[in-house]
Symmetry: C2
Subunit: 297 residues, 2 copies
Amino acid sequence: MRIRVLGAAAGGGFPQWNCGCANCADVRRGDPALSPRSQDSIAVSADGDRWVLLNASPDIRSQVEAFPALRPRAPRHSPIAGIVLTNGDLDHVLGLFSLRESQPLVLFATAAVRAGLGANVFLHTLERFDGQLVFRALVPGQPIEACGLELLPFAVAGKRPLHLERLGAPTPEDNIGLVVRDAAGGSVAYVPGAAALDAETRARLESVDVLFFDGTFWSSDELPRLALGRARAEDMAHLPIDGAAGSLAILRQLRTRRKIYTHINNTNPILRLGAPERRAVEDAGIEVAVDGLELAP
Amino acid sequence: MRIRVLGAAAGGGFPQWNCGCANCADVRRGDPALSPRSQDSIAVSADGDRWVLLNASPDIRSQVEAFPALRPRAPRHSPIAGIVLTNGDLDHVLGLFSLRESQPLVLFATAAVRAGLGANVFLHTLERFDGQLVFRALVPGQPIEACGLELLPFAVAGKRPLHLERLGAPTPEDNIGLVVRDAAGGSVAYVPGAAALDAETRARLESVDVLFFDGTFWSSDELPRLALGRARAEDMAHLPIDGAAGSLAILRQLRTRRKIYTHINNTNPILRLGAPERRAVEDAGIEVAVDGLELAP
């Protein structure tokens, strides 16, 4: 299996358009301790030919151009053979509407995420002809095949995005993680948003070669402490990295071979090489994803 | 007045994600005759401090970072003081949803374009608090003030985008052009989509210092000829550049000081320096916009 991190930042990217925090200011002036990151998406492929995108970020156009394997090989063509959505967050779905030039797409999403998309007339842009957008339902716990890969979706504690809150009661299908396996035995888990990490999920994450996990916030009070917002990490359904019950304490115990934080918010101190928080993550044997990172588990 | 071209390409950008035409293939390999372009948007400012965006392209995040004047100057800040939409095309509106980090926005659009946005639950992401999104109605023929600039919207022959076709009958408010004037007498007209150019509009376009005009397609049959689609330029409500009734024949007669094609499709031969079509445009005294072009009329 080939894996490419297309984007490793949380919603808004790094730097974020309206943020002048120390991280954003320093990355803009080219501080070598910091690297820009586009919004969360990962590409996986069984054969290096057909690729499946895990989430479709608003930065998808530049992400495709930055990775030659995703560029077209004919006058009208795309190696993007499928798109999987882990939830309805705008940083995960907006890129769909940049793939509207009459190219057939296969979209894997839960019924809840699909319903959220359907509440937007924008979706008609992907319904120009029969078969332009083929929807394949993800059901937590049920494996499904995609271009020679087996996708196993599983429910993860999360939160319906704000723009969908009025659409009805939350369901376990609002937010999922994925285990992706190829026929040769390579495997990766991708959990870019998690409010909690229960024993069943921890066991699942130990069954794979590579784990990408929610690294949105270092601490619960990251935004309030910087006076950039009132919401705590938990209010946004993200388990913080730090703290006795944080993800670092849990992930360091997992026997997974490679453990990588992704979906990292612009304010997160782990973005800065040499920062104590970055060293704490590295000392625990956990990596910090960056755009362009490639793996072949 | 200061003007910056944030993006000079039509929807899909240049190169386009699923296009391997000669232009796209050559720009990807770094041919010096071709320059990449992001999707259509222009920034204007009376004072160089507060900026008004004419359209919000899906590439807005990289467009902001590429232009230092649009970057934040405080921990939470944006110099973007207003956004004007000329129609409901996805390449003109999707960028709005990348400006969702609780920053107040003033949106100028016609009632028809506003209604099209409102048919998407995504819009709730810009309604997190009272006053996050302030809507100011554009009415063709009625000037309106925006950050020290006078905006004059006017109806332009166009077409409701495909995803809005089921929302009701077309209206003259579906597609507009803009004349923007500052107090010092500088003026610019911006008409990125036009199916026709009547005498009244031509007279209006002669009253400004700088004109940006729809340069989507060179010829009516540009896409069919390249076997990239069946639609003719007219089917997509774009007046082609070439031909006895094309925009080049009309624009060359206008006495406007600077005339600039923008919203250029990836297939358009005027993108290539030295091409006969590019030379024909230049010989007529018309420029071809590129990302980063700045003017101070």
